[in-house]
């Protein structure tokens, strides 16, 4: 049992009704996260990362429909759980830091009270104990002078401070799985490093599992064990972080890494975005999702069949017809 990953997301599809049939914003995606492990999800804007996170908490907005083999949390299938059971898991065992701190915070209530309320909703503690816990988590996320500033309203805080409150809110009940959707996006580098350090110690010392969505590829090796790359609702590459960053094997991942600014970037060497645009989801059909922008299409294959996973070695997999046919030389 202990070898079983704590979280298994198995062949999950999330669909919204569209004019020409369902739009699959998440299309047959699978991943697993062990206790004390962190999965980093990267990918194109609109590829379904936030939807997948919301599915983990059972909060995909209507009319979106989640289907698939299951979302197993410590052996229980959350997809088959009642709304009530899920509610008990949410916040207490699984907590999410939303991409949008404004949505997580009530504008009419001081931020400290919001944390106190969450703690009291899930634990039978006195107000004073809940307040101590709030101060403790605010301290952990580098919120300055929590005793005093916890009485501030969200509008009185800078963007980065609001984001730290949102992280503190997720940590307040001591969850076993933290889903962080671009949780460090608006933070300056030193606070970002502090939050990363905190999440790392939570996973290493307490065995907490983490799903970490980010656009910052530089963060992946600092926090992640495994990485999953998404494009247009599909998982296209996965494996240990260093493997994937050092030997990217999907043409999309390669394009992504080439367009990232580094410490050496300057306008003398213009950035190279991936040419073309993401197709509409209903244009993808049966073929490889990246084919309309791919420089190494396999004609006769990519437009008719979805690529299966091909092993690249070292626990690293890629879903690409070109790689399956010609190996790493074919995609580079």
């Amino acid at each position: 049992m202990s070898a079983d990953p704590a979280l298994r997301f198995e062949h999950v599809t999330i669909a919204f009704p569209g004019a020409e049939g369902p739009l699959k914003v998440v299309n047959d995606v699978s991943f697993a996260v062990g206790s004390g492990q962190c999965l980093v999800i990267v990918g194109e804007s609109g590829s379904g990362k936030s939807m997948a996170c919301q599915a983990l908490l059972g909060i995909v907005p209507a009319p979106g429909a989640v289907s698939g083999q299951g979302i197993f949390w410590e052996g229980r299938d959350l997809l088959k759980s009642s709304a009530r059971d899920w509610m008990k898991v949410r916040g207490a065992e699984i907590a999410m830091v939303f991409q949008d701190p404004a949505a997580a915070l009530n504008p009419l209530m001081p931020v400290g009270r919001q944390i106190v309320d969450v703690v009291r909703a899930h634990r039978s503690v006195t107000r004073a104990e809940a307040e101590r816990r709030a101060i403790e988590v605010l301290n952990q996320v580098g919120f300055p002078e929590p005793e005093r500033r916890m009485r501030a309203y969200p509008i009185e805080l800078s963007g980065g401070l609001r984001q730290r409150v949102a992280i503190a809110l997720a940590l307040a009940c001591g969850p076993k799985l933290i889903v962080a959707d671009e949780a460090t996006t608006n933070l300056d580098v030193s606070i970002q490093a502090q939050i990363i350090g905190l999440l790392r110690s939570l996973k290493e010392e307490l065995g907490i599992s983490i799903v970490f969505v980010t656009h910052d590829l530089g963060l992946a090796p600092e926090i992640g064990d495994e990485v999953l790359v998404m494009y247009a609702g599909h998982a296209v590459e996965r494996g240990p972080v260093r493997e994937v960053l050092d030997r990217p094997s999907h043409p999309y991942t390669i394009g992504l890494l080439n367009s990232a600014p580094t410490l050496e970037s300057s306008r003398a060497h213009p950035l190279k975005p991936i040419p073309g645009q993401v197709p509409a989801l209903d244009e993808i059909g049966a073929g490889a999702p990246f084919r309309s922008r791919c420089p190494v299409v396999v004609s006769g294959r990519c437009d008719s069949a979805k690529p299966d996973w091909t092993a690249c070695g070292g626990g690293h997999f890629v879903a690409c017809h070109r790689f399956a046919q010609d190996g790493i030389g074919g995609v580079q």
Partner: protein, 277 residues
């Protein structure tokens, strides 16, 4: 050369009351930043150092406790002055969720500034909407969606497209690319440099990502606790930083090309924020 937009000696103090006690927070203390025509000025500094507050004062969403905003070299004083300024200067917010009306379809939201300024007829407006969406890498069908039906990065790009609709002379961008995947980010940065080159667009660009600042900006202003600690051309500030604070920031940049080495020079947190007056 007169600057197209300047905040001169801007000071902002917020007063909050909690249980009878009065607290003063000095969010911005005597900051002067100017953008010339066609210049891209970066504003960096840790969370809470006053970047958003200062930039909101530049377009009058927030009023300064003291100091002057100058538009084409003239102090902005009357209502009419502010109106003229807002025709020239557009702002893209840090938080795209609250800046789009939840019940308005994207197409209408984009066409609205054209309507307000009486630009074009219906079909011209529809054409301009499609054009603006494609500039930021979004497809035409997005126009029929509501903001709640978009991803975070899609919403962010809609906000940028909306700000570009009336072809402003100055764009103030508060943390607009950190929520985008790096390919779309590269596309947006390329768009901004093209607008700078072709239309002489000026930018005040706030970002925590120093890699992006270095790439995009001509000049950078480094703030710390409401004050400027260093400013100058990007090559100079990044190549030979004068202040310890800037040096610390540069050493802390995460970089996927840096093989597993720990980042350097991280300051212990908890010092950030505005100075208490």
């Amino acid at each position: 050369m007169t600057a197209i937009l300047e905040g001169r000696n801007i000071v902002k103090t917020f007063t909050t009351r909690r249980g009878g006690q009065k607290h003063e927070v000095r969010a911005v203390g005597d900051v002067t930043v100017a953008a010339d025509r066609g210049e891209i000025v970066g504003l960096v500094g840790e969370s809470g150092c006053g970047k958003t507050t200062f930039s909101r004062i530049l377009i009058g969403i927030e009023t300064a406790s003291s100091g002057t905003v100058l538009h084409d070299g003239k102090p902005v004083a009357t209502k009419a002055d502010w109106k003229a300024l807002r025709r020239d200067v557009q702002y893209v917010f840090q938080d795209p969720y609250t800046s789009l009306c939840p019940t308005m379809r994207i197409g209408e939201a984009l066409a609205e500034p054209l309507l307000v300024h009486g630009i074009g007829d219906k079909s011209e407006r529809a054409e301009r909407v499609r054009e603006a969406l494609s500039l930021v890498g979004l497809q035409g069908f997005i126009a029929d969606r509501l903001p709640s039906q978009l991803s975070g990065g899609q919403r962010q790009r809609v906000s940028l497209a909306r700000a570009l609709m009336i072809r402003p002379r100055v764009l103030i961008c508060d943390e607009i690319v950190s929520g985008l995947d790096v390919s779309v980010q590269a596309q947006v940065l390329t768009l901004l440099t093209e607008l700078q080159a072709s239309l002489g667009l000026s930018l005040i660009f706030i970002s925590h990502d120093l890699r992006v600042i270095r790439y995009l900006c001509d000049r950078v202003v480094v703030m710390y606790r409401g004050e400027i600690v260093e400013q100058g051309p990007v090559e100079r500030v990044f190549g030979a930083p004068e202040s310890d604070y800037t040096r610390g920031l540069l050493a802390a940049i995460p970089d996927h090309s840096r093989r597993g080495e720990p980042r350097l020079g991280l300051r212990p947190a908890g010092h950030e924020g505005a100075r208490l007056a």
